[in-house]
């Protein structure tokens, strides 16, 4: 196949709690990298792992988890 290459996209998210003056905020940053980049570079080079989003996290009380449909 001419003129193409395989670019595996790696996504990761981890909850991050950010304390600011108004209280605690939780963010779920979404990171992306590509499998073509060697592991040692991904660890060392800040541009090999890019922040691409913040996920929306609905908040609910535990009892609200039981849906009465």
């Amino acid at each position: 196949m001419h003129g193409s290459t395989f670019v595996p996209i790696i996504l990761g998210s981890d909850k991050t709690t950010v304390s600011v003056a108004t209280g605690q905020n939780e963010y779920y940053p979404l990171y992306a990298s590509i499998g073509n980049i060697h592991n040692n570079v991904r660890r060392a080079h800040r541009n090999a792992l890019a922040l691409i989003g913040f996920l929306a996290i609905p908040k609910s009380k535990p009892e609200a988890c039981y849906l009465r449909l």
Partner: protein, 184 residues
Amino acid sequence: MLYTGQPCNEHGDYLPPGSPPTPPTDDKPDEWTPFHDRMEFETGEFLFTCNQMSAGDINTLLDLWAASLFKHHDHPPFADHDDLYTMIDLIPHGDVAWDCFTTSYQGDKPATDVPAWMNAEYDVWFRDPRTVVRNMLANPGFDGEIDYAPLRDFDASDKRQFQDFMSGDWAWKQAVTYSTMRYL
């Protein structure tokens, strides 16, 4: 061979071995886009990056600047801090721009006591992943540290070597399938 990772041009024609990549297009030395000239750019860089002046102080300074130029029928590089910030946001270089959309729960809801989160709207901030990935592939800082094709590496005693992502079984299976075997 298939998916050899051999460099080619945009038409898929293989390049001669050892061909250097197309150099990134250098901006012209007199190119200050979106700023109109060097004076505007350097004023913006000083106020925003070096001095990190507050919006109110920027307005005061630009008002004084405008007053001093009034008799010459001229005007300062920016009208106010909004004008400066707008110009900075128009800079095409740098990281991929952030975008935002609003989303909400679309599933079934209980007849009564609808939990607040089911009615709430949520902002999702994101950057175009395709552009982010393209920038990674184009980054000359990764030269020599990228695999352009899945590979299976064996040492002298024929023992499989796993090193980076593209040396693994998953990557190999994604690229070397029955549908791609047609091209062999």
